[in-house]
Structures are given as C-alpha cells and as structure tokens.
C-alpha cells in the first residue's frame, strides 16, 4: 500500500514568492497570531505527484471499467464536459463580478434551465442545490411553503414514503420537521394503492415517490397514485435519482409530479467525483414556482440578471448559485446529444438493462420478474452457501465494479444492477459471463467467494474494527 502523505519528508517546491515572517506582527496584534507551527505535509513536488498518482491507481472508476452500480447511473462522463468546464471564462468567473461582466455564465444557467424544463415538463426550476439530497430538501421546503400559503390554518405534518425509497427521503422529510410514514409495496413491487388510501388524510403534505422505483420498476399505477394524492390536497414529490430511465421518453410533470430533483451527476453525465461534487436541480409546477430559492436567473431584452426579489421564496439554500461548473458539464451534454440524442437515452438504458436481466435471470433469483426499466434486482439462489457480499467481492476479481448491494431494503440480499445506455452489448456479455461463472463457483466452491477479492489492492476490510477503534486521522506512531 502507498504510504500516507505525512510519511514523506522532502523539500516542497515554491509556488508563491517568499515573504518575511515579521510582516504578520507588523499588522496584527500578537493575540490573534498562531503560536504553534502547523503540521502540514512536507513533500517535494515529485513526491506529491507520485503519491497521488499511486493513490489514483488504487481506485476503480468509470474510465477504468464497467460500473453497474444500481441507482447511481454510472454512465460515461464525456471528456468534452471536462474541457469546457476548464475554460477561463467559466472557471475564472467571480460570482460577485458585476452582472454585465458575467452575461455568458448567466445565459448558460438560463438555457440549462430551459433544457431541463423541456425534458421534464416542469414550469419552474432552480439549479442551486449542490446534490440530490440537497435538492430533496429544497423540494420539501417548497411543498411546506406552498401548504403554508394555501391553507395557513391547516397543519399538514406528515410525509409518506414508500418502503422502497432511498434513505435520503425519510431523512430529508424528518429534518424539514415532518413526521414520516412508510407505505408498503404490493407483491408486484409497486406502491400498494389500498395502503396508500389508508395512509392519506388531511394531515398529509406529500408523498415522496421514485419512479421508476429502486427495484427498477415503473410505477404502473402512477396516474392513480397522483390522482389520490392530489384529491387529498397533498403534493407528489419525485425523487429523480432514476430519471435516466425516462429521459427523452416521459416528462415526469405529465405523470402528475409537482416537484422533482434531478441529479446532474447521474442523468446528465457530470462525473461523480468520488462522491461529489454533484448537483441536484429542482423542477416544479407553476403553483410552486413562486417559492423557489433566490436568486432566479431572468432574461429581459437579451440581458440576463439575478433576481433576489420574489417575496414568497423559501430563501437561500446555498451560497452563490450552486455548483456552476457541474451545470456547465450538464449543459455541454445537452448540446452534444441534442434533441436526437436525448430521445435515445431512456430507451437505450431500458433495452440494455432488460438484455442483461434476461441473461442473468435463469441463473440468479429475480424477486420481481417483469420487464424492468433502467435497472433490476437479483439475489443469490437460496441453496448457495454464499451471500450477496461474497458475490459482490468476487465480481471485483473478474474486473468489474460490483452492483449496489443490500438495497432496496425490502429485498433480502439484494443486488441492484444498472448498466446505463453507454455500455455496449459486448461489455454486458462479458459481465454476464462472469456472473454465470461466479454462480457456478457459488454452487460448487463457495470458499472462493468467501476469500474474494484476491486481485484488489487490499483484501476485505474489517469495518467493525474501524467502528470499534476509531482512527479518523493520521497520527505519527512511535516506531518499533
């Protein structure tokens, strides 16, 4: 393994002119100045580059191979996105520069809003949320503001969340001050309409729904669900984590969603960055638009401005205007694909997922055996002496990233596989062949799976140990 950067002891390069230490004392009273030397790494430029290059080689990434991580939409990240995000006029634009000097940046945001509204059918949109969960909380605050304005006297204190939902949904609702009620799915993996009816009442503010859901299944009763929710005076929130299935195929607003977040880092090809930065744009209906966060980008006679005035806005949810360079990448993606390319995305993602599902469903157990959308869920056969974790670790030895595992929670030992539209039949065939071999190993030589992975930089890691004895930073250890 690569050593820690603090274990290097070499001469750093000079990046800025050397200054005199005494300068600080001249301008600032001693009580404000630091008294101890900071303990930062001391490494030469060559060591820094070698160290981080070595670390990079320990990572699996979309650029290195197939990454079928369900619900994460690990599609290819086009390189033109990165190239344009580096343009001086974008990376070097200061957020508080006078508006007349950043017209290009404002136009880009304005146009991206139009593109996202066109593919979703929503009337209002904000690009400010920095991530999917941040978009969720923004959407829930819009819902709260809407109810408060519409019926100030009525206290809608409950948010309904299906049992298949991402963990962020109930966490978001609870942190916004709502009580969370879980709604069960039926035996087809859809929301159970009878259960929904039972839970709907005058105290319900909204239902948070992911469509397709985390089983990769289209919510067949979506129109009935949205009708029931709306008849109750509640709103329908869409978790757009799985929007890739519907891109260019269906507009969520037309299914009855009132508000939805988009993950620009999933559906719109911005990279995931090892866990961020992402961006979680939020689209909404006309009724919710007055409550969108400030500032809004406006266009008047070819001049773009930032509007902080809307008096019913929920306020600001992040500094400045969100993850701008992530928006730039999504914008480049829209330009490249255009109307023709966007029309193919959802359809191809669905075809790829069904092809792969069909290749695997005779060998693995498929808890919901029906046409899937962009992803599907498998489990090990009950007579194998291995669990999902073992299979996932063995997949690493065959050169692929494992699927999402142990999610959704309603499927015991779930493996959730999402190939995305950018992968080829050939890649999926190779992956399927590996999974077939792993199934044979699971049935005949389960110990191979228990020992996996063997080919990765480190073996299985003791997560319990990490929780028991917390080591959350590097500390110099006494040698010997």
């Amino acid at each position: 393994m690569e050593k820690v950067i603090f274990e290097y002891h070499s001469q750093p390069a000079a990046y800025v002119p050397v200054t005199k230490l005494a300068v600080a004392n001249k301008y600032i009273p001693a009580e404000f100045l630091g008294s101890v030397e900071l303990d930062l790494p001391q490494a030469s430029e060559q060591d820094v580059i070698r160290h981080f290059t070595a670390l990079s080689k320990l990572n699996f990434s979309v650029d290195s191979g197939f990454y079928p991580l369900g619900s994460c939409t690990m599609k290819y990240n086009p390189k033109v996105n990165e190239a344009v995000a580096d343009f001086d006029g974008l990376a070097g634009a200061h957020p508080y520069a006078p508006e007349e000097s950043v017209q290009g940046a404002l136009e880009l945001l304005y146009e991206l809003e139009i593109f996202l509204k066109e593919v979703s059918g929503f009337q209002g949109l904000t690009l400010q949320p920095a991530a999917g969960a941040h978009g969720e909380s923004t959407g829930i605050l819009l819902i709260k503001a809407y109810h408060r304005h519409k019926q100030p006297a009525q206290k809608r204190t409950i948010i309904l969340v299906p049992d298949t939902a991402h963990g962020t949904n109930p966490a978001t609702a609870a942190l916004a001050g709502y009580q969370v009620r879980q709604v069960q799915s039926d035996n087809q993996g859809n929301i159970d309409l009878a259960e929904l009816k039972k839970n709907l009442n005058a105290n319900v503010a909204a239902l948070m729904l992911t469509n397709p859901n985390t089983l990769g299944l289209f919510e067949r009763n979506i129109l009935a669900v949205s009708r029931l929710v709306h008849e109750n005076g509640a709103l329908l929130y869409g978790d757009g984590a799985n929007f890739n299935a519907l891109l260019g195929l269906v507009k969520p607003a037309e299914l009855g969603f009132d508000v939805m977040h988009f993950n620009l880092h999933k559906t719109f090809s911005a990279p995931h960055g090892g866990g961020g930065p992402g961006a979680g744009a939020v689209g909404c209906s006309k009724e919710l638009t007055p409550f969108l966060p400030v500032p809004r980008v406006r266009k008047n006679r070819e001049i773009f401005t930032l509007d902080y005035q809307p008096k019913n806005s929920i306020g600001k949810i992040r500094s400045f205007y969100g993850n701008f360079l992530t928006a730039v990448r999504a914008y480049a993606y829209f330009l490249a694909l255009g109307a023709e390319g966007i029309a193919k995305v959802g359809r191809q993602a669905i075809l790829n997922a069904n092809y792969l599902r069909q290749r695997l469903e005779k060998i693995y157990h498929v808890p919901y055996s029906r046409t899937c959308m962009h992803e599907f869920v498998l489990t090990p056969q009950p007579d194998w002496a291995v669990n999902t974790l073992d299979i996932a670790k063995r997949i690493i030895d065959y050169g692929f990233h494992p699927p999402t595992i142990y999610f959704p929670l309603i499927v015991h030992e779930a493996m959730m596989i999402e190939p995305t539209e950018t992968e080829t039949k050939e890649t999926m065939d190779t992956f399927a062949a590996a999974l077939v071999k792993i199934a044979q190993e699971a049935a005949q030589k389960p110990e191979i799976l228990k020992r996996a992975p063997q080919t990765s930089p480190v073996g299985r890691i003791d997560e319990a140990q990490a929780n028991r004895q917390l080591i959350l930073k590097y500390e110099k250890r006494v040698s010997g």
């Binding site: 690569e2 950067i5 603090f6 990046y15 050397v18 200054t19 600080a24 301008y27 009580e31 008294s35 101890v36 790494p41 699996f60 990240n77 990165e82 006029g89 070097g92 634009a93 200061h94 957020p95 508080y96 006078p98 950043v102 290009g104 136009e107 880009l108 991530a131 909380s137 109930p170 609870a174 195929l249 269906v250 507009k251 995931h272 866990g275 500094s319 400045f320 701008f324 360079l325 490249a336 109307a339 023709e340 390319g341 191809q348 790829n352 092809y355 046409t371 996932a392 690493i396 992968e423 039949k425 050939e426 930089p457 299985r460 890691i461 929780n467 917390l470 959350l472 930073k473 590097y474």
Partner: protein
Amino acid sequence: MDFIGNTAADNKAMQRDLGLASEEELLKDIPPDKIIRQLLALPAAASELEVKRRVQELADRNVSVSDHACFLGAGAYDHYIPSTVPVIARRGEFYTAYTPYQPEISQGTLQSIFEYQTIMCNLTGLDVANASLYDGATALYEAAHLACAHTQRNTVLLASTVHPEYRQVLRTYMQNSALIIKEISFREGIIDLADLKSQLNDQVAAVVVQQPNFFGCLENVQQMGKLAHANGSLFITSIYPISLGILQRPGEYGADIVTGEGQSLGLPVSFGGPYLGIFACRREFRRKMPGRIVGESIDNQGQRAYVLTLQTREQHIRREKATSNICSNESLCALSACVYLSSMGTAGLRNVATASLEGAHYLAGSIANLPGWKISFKAPFFNEFVATVPGNIDELNSKLLKNKIIGGLSLAKFYPELKNSVLFCVTEKRTKTEIDTLVSILKEAL
C-alpha cells in the same frame, strides 16, 4: 453526438434475444399517451467541435480572473493554484469514481479523504474532521443544527458580521426546524461584546462567528469563546483556511465546531461552485457529525486500509432518524484541497497568507491617503477591508473593468447602513504594480 456504444446491429440482436417484436414492448408499464413521440424542443445534436465553440462563445462573454486583476473576495478568493492540483484532480481514476462503497477498489479516494481529514484537523486544531460538505454556508448550518441537538436548546446567536449569504442559508433551514436565530450587532466592524452578553441565556445553543469576519476584520474570538462556554453554549466559527497560515488556530481559542469555505485551497472561483464545506469538531461530537467520515482499519492480510465509518449516523441506515440527510460530499474538491496543502506545505501556506496580508495593508494604506476616501473600521484585518467611497461604486467598478480590474464588492445590498462602502480583497496574486494601478484609477475616477 451521443455516447451510446451499441450499433444498430447490437440493438437488433439484443431485441431478438429478448424475443421482442419491437422495442416498444419494453415500455408496456408506461401509460401510452405519456410517451414522448416527437423530438423535444432542444438544439440539434452537435459534434464536439461545435459544443466547444458554443460554450467558448459564452465563456468569452465573462470577465475572468485569469486576465483581470481581481480585488473582489467576499467568500470567493482568487488565490494561486499550483499546477499539481489540476493534474491530480483531472485523473479519471479519481473524478469518474463514485462514493467509495466498495473499499477494496476505492482506496485511492478513501486514503486521500483520510489525509484531507488529517490536514483539516491540523489546520483547525480540532480533533476530528469529516470528508467535506457542500460549501461554507451549508456547513455552518449543519454546525448550528448539531449544536441545538447536542445542547437541547433552540436558539443560535449569529454574528451579523458572518457572510450575509451564510446567514440567509441558516435562516432558511433553521426556520423550518422551528429553531430561532438572533443576530448580534457590530460596532467598528466587529461584534459588540456588550450586545452578545445581553443576549446570552439558557436557551442559547451556540454562538456563531466568522474569523476573519465578512469585513475582513478580526473578531475577539478569545473573549467570545469564553462568554459562550460560561453560558453552556457551544462556540462555532466559520474560517477562511488560508488565514490559518498565520492566524491562531480555532482549537486554541476554544472553538467547539469549525466550519469554513475551502474554495481558497486550490479551487477556481468558478462562478460560485463547486466549492468545499469544511467541518471539524471536538471529539465528543464525532458520533453526531454530518456527512461521510473515513476511518483507518486493516484488511484480512493485516495491511493498513481505509473504509467509510460511523455509518450508523447516516441516512441510508438510520433513515428518518439520521443526523443529517447528506449523502454526497465534495470529495474531488477535498482531494484538490489535499493536493494544494500537500504541495504548499507549512511554509508555503504561511507565504500565501503573509503576502495576502501585506498586499491588503499596502492597498489600505494607499487608499487612506486618497482625498475623500476612508478606511471604515479600526479593527485589525487580514486580507480584506472596507473603505468608504466618495462617489458611486457601480460606476467606479465599470471604469475599473475597462482597465482589466475587477473592483471590490459594494456593501449596499447586504448592509444598507454601509451604502457608500466597498469591500476590497488582496491575495498573493496581486502585484505592487496592479495595486498601484488600481489606486491611480481610484484617484482619477472620483
């Protein structure tokens, strides 16, 4: 141009294997009248060359800090970025990976975050740091939220000298959790300690300040920390990490939680994002921290290895009982900060801080000599300061732009009482010539 790898023949073969007469059979769960049948109102598909041309056209309509002398800061700083930072951050192995859920093949991301956490602890003087949050504003909210949960109190005393947008973000979220914010007023550019004292009571969960504050001035953090602790409240500071090259570390003046905007550590100003939310705290709060945390463990061969830890705090396990709803961090930005500080080292960071300080004081000294101009506050400052202007700031800034200079921020929007005031910032990138040019234009203009 799309990025679909399959040929038409591949697609046909897949459909055949699936036994489909048409691809439409895969869409049978979708209400048929909701399926989009015609092209959407989007631009026509474009080649890479055309995409670059269009985005370049937009980029060219912005003023950039790369060819203008920038004296604008206010939460987004034009510091020098060493060449090492983009080289590493542009490695596909880092930027096209996801959250390190499979640690055996994610040690690169995990170890770099572990190193980032260590550097943030060393920089702030606190015990633990997380893997990063969205930005300085949301990090500050998470700190205030933690303080209320920890102390079981419902009020936060918020310095009016904290970045105005951070205060707005706090207000948005706190209102919706039925928590109360009270602002502490300022005098002479820093917090009025008498006002702070008068507002302390047994419902105050935390005192929240920014150091250096929004005006660049240094707050009396030692005294404020003592007052907060004597009241049983937590002391939270929002920091500008570059300043810690010379300023006292928050751990030494009693901060319980430190948050901050990490953009200055190797990230471009980027029209406001992606940025880096720093979050560090004392050991006793570590199980209540928001966001991802990386811990060291061992693998089955006994080798040192890293893994996401303390996950029982998080939304995917705890759902509605989680400490926060955060899932993403700003991992790649944390990597950039890690490479930045690893490249700079202790002396390099001190040079950046000292040069910024010196440049700002040189500019302030020159402005103080201009007729009609005044440095607004007497408090010591780091690399930003407020000046009172004898004229129209917007017109002045337009004139500066024509001379390839980005002027300071007019404070009228955020502080109506300071309507003739401008906030200037100087970083180590500003040369003496650039500062002299700015001053000569200011002199001529008004």
